[in-house]
Symmetry: C2
Subunit: 137 residues, 2 copies
DNA sequence: TTCGTTGTATCGAAACTATAATACAAAGAT
DNA sequence: ATCTTTGTATTATAGTTTCGATACAACGAA
């Protein structure tokens, strides 16, 4: 079973929350490559949101290269990586890292503390992925 | 002189861009503690946006603890840190780090590559801060 | 074919963002 | 006290984004 939970009205659009959580599930292995995502309507009903919101999330995930769709069949987790070039990937991530460092500095976290946090979060992700090994939808 | 440039219609609200860029200026030392930010009306005119938009950015920066205001005088960069407790800071950052790791994984960056990127971005920030040392508004 | 499934496209309502105009309040300078 | 400068608050309005209701189109199975 998918563990998705969206919060309405917290400032973050539903479709973005959905994208982030699906990315999370893929990254932690809870959604294996080529496994099928729930149909638009089913997921919409489970989450009590509009099918169009799911459509938008799936479409952007497809653009990002995380899923592929077959009309009349379904939406599947892509087994191939990102469609971006290595340089593009680097630039995209560097922007996010810089934002993180700035935010961290304001919260009293210097470079080393941030790196420590990165290591801890990574361990955490891996541990959670292991605990859910093999569990798809 | 402040180097602020906002882009209208790129999806990111102006007030958020303003917040991010001011955070950036503070983090890189281009805005020193206790230095004065431009008056609401002046900054609005320079950026060709509405004063209310600047008001909103300043207000949220104040809530975040980055600036303080004195009515009738102006808005100043706070010399004290965040108003959050250390645990809150940690939780806020951990969430962002986790999002970064997930994004990185999808883009082919593992933990070590991310950490390398963190070090590089930090150096970059420091270098840029040095190059602008002493330059305020 | 016909049916049921899947994703797609379009339109409208609601919420959010940005703007404008205006009036107000607090502090310092004269 | 008065003026100027600063931030604050209110109201109205337009544009954009987000979300939802509905009808449509492609694909496979019976």
């Amino acid at each position: 079973m998918l563990h998705l939970s969206l919060q309405q009205g917290d400032g973050v659009p539903l479709y973005l929350q959905l994208i982030q959580q699906i990315k999370h599930l893929v990254a932690t292995g809870r959604l294996a490559p080529d496994s099928e995502l729930p149909p638009v309507r089913v997921l919409a009903q489970q989450l009590l949101i509009n099918p169009n919101t799911v459509v938008r999330a799936y479409r952007e995930l497809e653009i990002a290269g995380l899923v592929y769709k077959r009309r009349g069949e379904g939406t599947y987790v892509s087994s191939r990586g990102t469609p971006y070039t290595p340089e593009e990937c680097r630039r995209i991530l560097a922007q996010k890292v810089e934002a993180l460092l700035i935010e961290g500095r304001h919260l009293g976290f210097d470079e080393e503390k941030i790196i420590d946090l990165v290591r801890e979060c990574e361990s955490d992700l891996q541990r959670r992925a292991r605990a859910n090994e093999g569990v798809t939808i």
